[in-house]
């Protein structure tokens, strides 16, 4: 009951937030983006033990796929991206919204499929090889796309502007991100307590044992990554429409930007927990927004330092720290109590 009230209150707050803080609508939308990518990173990194450094691939690919679908429904993509013409080719309101929705969903589906294809190869890699292999995929994709003139090459793509006024546009994108985040949260809350969730945790804790027990490790790994990719692809697609103009290396396949942010968020909040990535994302986003401009060019150095410090000293994150300090909050109490009586019994 208390939980139900909490969730309802949360939902009300989420809905009201862009109206309560009208000056921060874009910030809040970005926060949702961070939350979604952190949660999806944790799906493989925290729950499955596969630390990808290349999940940004799905973000960038989602952007491009959404844009190409939206443009392709109405115009010739190659012509449109021929820099001068995107100014002339217009979209009607219906074309824009249909294109956006179809594009965003299509981006998710395309990314899920590409996750299966890439994962089929990369999931043979374990541990650090997987991390480096996925990083390689992301970097290679960025480099290749920036040489591909049909999608605008290094210039990127300029999408049509949101047809309504600026403020409704901001609210529109806020809710697109927020819906993604809420759906993802509910989905994961359910997923983590199915047999699938348990099997995925088994892969994290001891993959060799899981294999020896006949768990379909590859199938589960592919499914998990495809699900994660679906959501990353969708928020990538939303970002494409929100940003209007994006280019391959700095915006879409931004390996050391968002690509590493999501890892830091998850580590800050706590790997392998439902709330950890969310808390981490909020924490990180707030810290970043508050301090970024005061660092006078040193912000990237500070980010690197933050990664190092988090990894070296605070790897279990906030949730891990809480788990250590307040195990009873997480329902570990039963075992705790039994084990103490057990040891007392053993001693006497």
């Amino acid at each position: 009951m208390k939980k139900a009230i909490f969730y309802v209150a949360l939902l009300v707050f989420i809905t009201a937030a862009p109206f309560l803080f009208p000056d921060f609508r874009t910030q809040l939308a970005t926060l949702w983006l961070m939350i979604v990518v952190s949660m999806t990173w944790d799906m493989t990194g925290g729950q499955m033990g596969y630390n990808s450094l290349g999940n940004i691939f799905f973000y960038g690919t989602g952007m491009y796929v959404a844009a190409i679908i939206c443009i392709g429904l109405v115009h010739d993509v190659g012509l449109y991206n021929d820099a001068a013409r995107s100014e002339i080719m217009k979209f009607t309101d219906t074309q824009y919204f249909v294109g956006a929705i179809v594009g965003i969903l299509g981006a998710g589906i395309f990314c899920a499929i590409s996750a299966v294809v890439i994962g089929y190869v990369t999931f043979g890699l374990r541990g650090p090889y997987f991390a480096i292999g996925t990083l390689g995929v992301a970097i290679a994709a960025g480099e290749l796309v920036s040489n591909w003139e049909w999608v605008g090459g290094g210039q990127g793509i300029a999408l049509p502007v949101y047809p309504g006024d600026l403020d409704t546009g901001k609210i529109f994108f806020y809710f697109l991100f927020a819906i993604c985040g809420v759906v993802l949260f509910i989905f994961l809350k359910w997923l983590y307590q199915t047999r699938f969730g348990a099997a995925v945790n088994a892969i994290r804790d001891d993959e060799e044992k899981a294999e020896a027990m006949g768990i379909h490790t590859l199938r589960y790994k592919l499914t998990m990554w495809a699900l994660a990719a679906f959501f990353v692809g969708m928020v990538g697609g939303i970002s494409a429409f929100q940003l209007i103009h994006f280019e391959p290396l700095e915006t879409a396949y931004q390996t050391i930007n968002l690509g590493i942010f999501m890892v830091v968020c998850v580590l800050l909040g706590g790997k392998g927990t439902l709330w950890g990535p969310i808390i981490g994302a909020i924490l990180f986003h707030v810290i970043k927004e508050v301090t970024w401009n005061y660092l006078l060019g040193w912000q990237w150095v500070a980010l690197g330092a933050l990664i190092v410090v988090t990894v070296v000293y605070f790897q279990d994150g906030l949730m891990g720290w809480l788990l250590l300090k307040k195990p009873e909050w997480f329902g570990v109490r039963v075992e705790k109590k039994e084990s103490t009586t057990e040891s007392v019994g053993g001693a006497s």
């Binding site: 047999r195 348990a198 001891d206 020896a212 027990m213 006949g214 379909h216 075992e335 039994e338």
Partner: protein, 247 residues
């Protein structure tokens, strides 16, 4: 009885050292087969060849008539040929019940089934098997905090949970308190008779294997030295020599 695992002429060498030379043996369906031999005789190598941990140089290994010598570990496990580890491997961060539920036979599930919740029957079966190995009282403890012997029992229970056709056990009594060994022998026998699981056991402890197996193979220096019933093996001078020679 028909043979369920059929090993024919298997050889395996590690960088010039012949670990197994031309080994042939059968595991009978529904029986308990033992594999003995002094240290370094190639028991574990043969075992690993069967479960798919490394490729073999020559020969064939068949499981229920299907060639498995080229399959990877997980495909072999999914056929119902399960193994336990000499150094036990359980999920230390989870409790006993969770460990059992993870061991549900995923190979028998349809893909969509894996998105379901564990049924009441699953929980009951987990409890029953934990009771069977004598860990019912400790089922909510973090398994990492169990003693080595208890972890071994838990791994055994997990293997039973998986409903294997054949269970390969790598030295099940190694590191177990001698007072518990009789209980373990009893449970292994009951797993064989009550659950109908074919057992294939590597064992160092002669007393244990002689009490259980109905057929024993003895390896020495990577070659098949002798095979037969426990009585025949006990009476075989070559086996005695091999063991004495190794000491």
């Amino acid at each position: 009885m028909s043979s369920i695992i059929d090993v024919q002429g298997v050889s395996k060498s590690y960088g010039g050292v012949l670990a197994n030379t031309d080994i042939s043996m059968q595991v009978q369906k529904g029986g308990i087969t033992g594999l003995i031999g002094p240290n370094g005789s190639g028991k574990t190598t043969l075992f690993n060849s069967i479960v798919g941990y490394h490729p073999i140089d020559e020969g064939s290994i068949r499981f229920e008539g299907k060639e498995i010598s080229k399959l990877p570990v997980q495909s072999i496990a999914r056929l119902g040929l399960l193994r336990t580890f000499q150094q036990t491997r359980i999920y230390g961060a989870m409790n006993g019940v969770e460990n059992m539920l993870i061991s549900l036979p995923h190979r028998k599930m349809r893909f969509m089934d894996s998105f379901g919740q564990n049924s009441k029957a699953d929980y009951e079966r987990a409890d029953m098997l934990l009771d069977f190995v004598g860990l019912y009282e400790k089922r909510f403890l973090k398994s990492g905090s169990l003693s080595f012997g208890q972890q071994k029992l838990l791994e055994f229970a997990m293997a039973l949970m998986n409903e294997p056709t054949v269970l390969l056990l790598d030295e099940p009594t190694a590191g177990i308190n001698p007072t518990l060994i009789n209980g373990l022998i009893d449970r292994l026998k009951r797993a064989n008779t009550e659950f109908g699981i074919t057992l294939f056991i590597i064992e160092h402890n002669m007393r244990v294997i002689m009490n259980m197996a109905d057929k024993i193979y003895c390896l020495a220096h990577g070659k098949m030295l002798a095979s037969g019933t426990p009585q025949e093996i006990q009476g075989d001078q070559r086996v005695v020599d091999a063991y004495l020679g190794a000491h």
